[in-house]
Symmetry: C2
Amino acid sequence: MALTAKGRATRQRIVEGAAAHLRSDDPAGVTLDDIRAITGTSKGQIFHYFPDGKEELFLAVARYEADRVLDDQQPHLGALTSWPAWERWRDSVVARYRAQGRSCPLGALMSQVGSTPGATEVVSTLVGQWEAHIRLGIAEMQAAGLVRAGVDAGRTAAAFIAGIQGGVQLLRTTGSVGHLEAALDTLIDHLRG
Amino acid sequence: MALTAKGRATRQRIVEGAAAHLRSDDPAGVTLDDIRAITGTSKGQIFHYFPDGKEELFLAVARYEADRVLDDQQPHLGALTSWPAWERWRDSVVARYRAQGRSCPLGALMSQVGSTPGATEVVSTLVGQWEAHIRLGIAEMQAAGLVRAGVDAGRTAAAFIAGIQGGVQLLRTTGSVGHLEAALDTLIDHLRG
C-alpha cells in the first residue's frame, strides 16, 4: 500500500502509541480498541493502515522495537574500529538491557504473535543486521592489524549474537546482567587474543 | 509430603506420562483430564500427588525436563578433562538440540507456567548446575596446564551458558544450529588460546 506523507505519519503515530502502551502492559491483554483509544484513531483508520488487524499491527510494533534495538547501540555498533569503540559498544548494550530489566518488549510481542512467517522475518532481519555490524567491526579490526587474521569474523560475530541473546534471556529469568556481561567480555577478550 | 516407594513410583509415572504428552502437543491446550486419561490415573490420585493442580504438575514436568537436559550431556559434561572430552561434549550438545529442532519442551512449559518463583527456581537450578560443571572442567584443564591460568573460569563458564542459551533460542526461530555451534566453537577456541 502506497501511503501519502500524511498517511505515513498517521500510521507511524499509531505504531508508536501502540508500542508505548504495549511496553507498559502485558500484550496478551491489549485489544485493538485500547490502541484506538490511546492513539485517538477510529476503527476505520486502524483497519485502513492494518487491514489484517491486531496481528499486523503487533508485527509493525515488533519491527519498530527491533529497529530500536539497533538504534540504541548507535553510533557505537556502526563504528567498531578501535578497542575503546568496542568497550563503548559493550557498555551501551549492557546499559540498555540493564535498564530494560526483566521485561522485554520484543520478546513479549513475539510470544503473542507466535512463530508466523512475519514474526520470524522480524527476528531474522534484526539478527542479520546486528550480526553484519559485528562482523564488519571484526573485519575492520583485522584490516587495521588489531585482531589476528586467523579469527573467523563471521563465526565470532554469530557467537556474539548467541551470547547476547542468551544473556538477555537469562536476565529475564535471573534479573541480573551477569551472563550478558560474561559473554561480551569473554568474546572481546577472545578478539584481543 | 513423604511418599512411600510405591507412591514415588506412581508420581514418577504421572510426571513421565505428562512429559511425553507435553512433548507431542502444545502445552497451552493440555488439561489435567488429558493427563489423567493418558496416565490412567484418577482425579483423586492427581490431586494427591499435585495438590495445587496443573501448575504444580507442569512444574514437576519442567524439573524432569531440566534434569534430562543435563543427563543428555553425560558422561561428557561431568569429565571435561581433555580437549577430546570438550569436543565430545560440544558434539553431544549440538546433536541434542539439532534433534530437538524448533521445539523446546522446557521453553514451552516455561511460557505456560510463567515467571512464578517455582519456574524461576527450576531454570536457576538448571543454569547453576550446568555452569558449575563447565567451570569445574575449565579449572581442571587449568590444573593440568592445558588452559592458561589467566582465564577466568567462572566468567568463561557463564559465557558458555549464555552462548548455548542464545544458540538454542535462535535455533527455535531460524531452525539452524549455526549460532549454537559458533558460540561453542568460539569459546572452546578461546580456552585453547
